[in-house]
């Protein structure tokens, strides 16, 4: 049994080494800044592509190109891969620490978005967070963030860091759902479309980020997980939540404009 567990942990450790290496290399060498968002919108079917492209260009100018964030995340991922490969730090603690670092990076990104100025237009319809992502989904992800508490007696520090990191990420998703709309007013209808879709896309992706590391954390505490039905239940709950979040959040890809939005596009070509 001991050999079997050691082998399983080793496989998981090397899987994470690979995952962090690929993520680090992608962050350092892959598309920078806004290009991945632009690629996502390339799939949106609209008659007036030029207006959408102009709105995306404007959005890119407003947000700037946070290339340094991607680069820093890449360096962090590669460092985590190196530490995991050296096997000098408990791997569950490493997962918890990288999750915490992710929360710090997200906080920096949120801060940048919060400081953008120069908007002149706003919708007169009340905006509610539940319209971005359902409140029930926030509740589910918050519950998964608390699940590592069942491992306090096994790995107190790592479990505490994991809970703090996951809950911080959920809080950031909540705050990003309520960010001021970035609509400068050059083409209000299309800028609003881009703002809505980006907000939804980001919140859904961040909620996924809050859940997935928990699955690895539980798997890395495989031995103690089977000693308690609560821990096993926590693992199952988090795993299922991690798998269904993309579907419950309505998918990550930007959807095309609704019939009402298309009417707004046609009627408002400022």
């Amino acid at each position: 049994m001991g050999d079997y567990l050691a082998t399983l942990l080793n496989v998981l450790r090397w899987f994470l080494v690979g995952l962090w290496t690929v993520a680090g290399a992608w962050s350092l060498c892959g598309p920078v800044g806004f290009s991945w968002i632009r690629d996502g919108f390339a799939r949106v079917q609209v008659a007036d592509r030029a207006r959408l492209d102009r709105a995306l260009e404007l959005r890119e100018r407003l947000e700037g190109s946070p290339a340094w964030l991607g680069r820093a995340l890449g360096v962090l991922s590669l460092a985590a891969a190196a530490v995991a490969a050296s096997n000098r730090v408990a791997i569950d603690l490493l997962v918890a620490m990288t999750t915490l670092a992710t929360a710090v990076f997200l906080a920096a990104a949120y801060s940048r978005l919060r400081q953008i100025r120069g908007m002149r237009a706003a919708s007169l319809k009340a905006r509610v967070r539940s319209a971005v992502v359902p409140r029930s989904l926030f509740a589910v992800v918050t519950a998964t963030g608390l699940c590592p508490l069942f491992f306090l007696s096994v790995s107190a520090f790592a479990a505490t860091v994991m809970v703090a990191a996951s809950l911080s990420i959920v809080l950031l998703a909540w705050m990003i759902a309520d960010l001021p709309a970035l609509v400068r007013g050059d083409d209000v209808a299309v800028e609003s479309f881009v703002d809505d879709r980006l907000r939804h896309q980001r919140v859904a992706a961040i909620l996924q980020l809050a859940t997935t590391p928990g699955v690895f954390f539980f798997l890395l505490n495989f031995e103690s997980m089977y000693a308690s039905p609560w821990r096993l239940a926590a693992f199952c709950f988090t795993s299922v939540a991690s798998c269904v979040i993309p579907f419950l959040a309505g998918g990550f890809g930007p959807r095309g404009p609704s019939a009402e939005e298309l009417r707004a596009w046609a009627g408002d070509a400022r």
Partner: protein, 128 residues
């Protein structure tokens, strides 16, 4: 309805921002872009979206409330009142009457008769 209603603020305009917000909200209600019972953004949300001080939006909302176009209900936010369209229609009619009075008054001072003004107006409307 022409899709979702928006408000725009020009910080360089002579009209103060609270007046711009007030006017555009009133027009949105008049044109039925906002229906009775529609929830408006909170003061904080609209202020942060537009990048203006919350007091600016609060003042515009207070003026709209004083005219009976919206009602604020503390934490539940502000809503367009049920009788907003009647009030807006009355205000719209009043504004048209006043503009017509000014127009006819200025032309009368220059010697035009009411029938001449009426005929010119009808011709202009038919041609435009």
């Amino acid at each position: 309805m022409r899709g979702e209603p928006y408000v725009m603020v020009d910080p360089d305009a002579e009209t103060p921002p609270y007046q711009q917000i007030f006017e555009q909200l009133r027009v949105a209600i008049e044109r039925r872009a906002l229906e009775p019972g529609d929830a408006l953004p909170t003061v904080r949300q609209l202020a942060s979206d537009l990048g203006v001080a919350p007091n600016t939006v609060a003042r515009a909302y207070a003026d709209l409330q004083a005219e009976g176009l919206i009602v604020s209900d503390g934490r539940r936010g502000s809503r367009v009142t049920e009788r907003s369209h009647t009030i807006a229609a009355r205000a719209r009619g009043q504004a048209l009457r006043e503009a017509a009075q000014r127009f006819v008054g200025s032309l009368s001072q220059r010697g035009y008769t009411r029938s001449e003004i009426g005929a010119a107006l009808r011709r202009f409307i038919a041609e435009s």
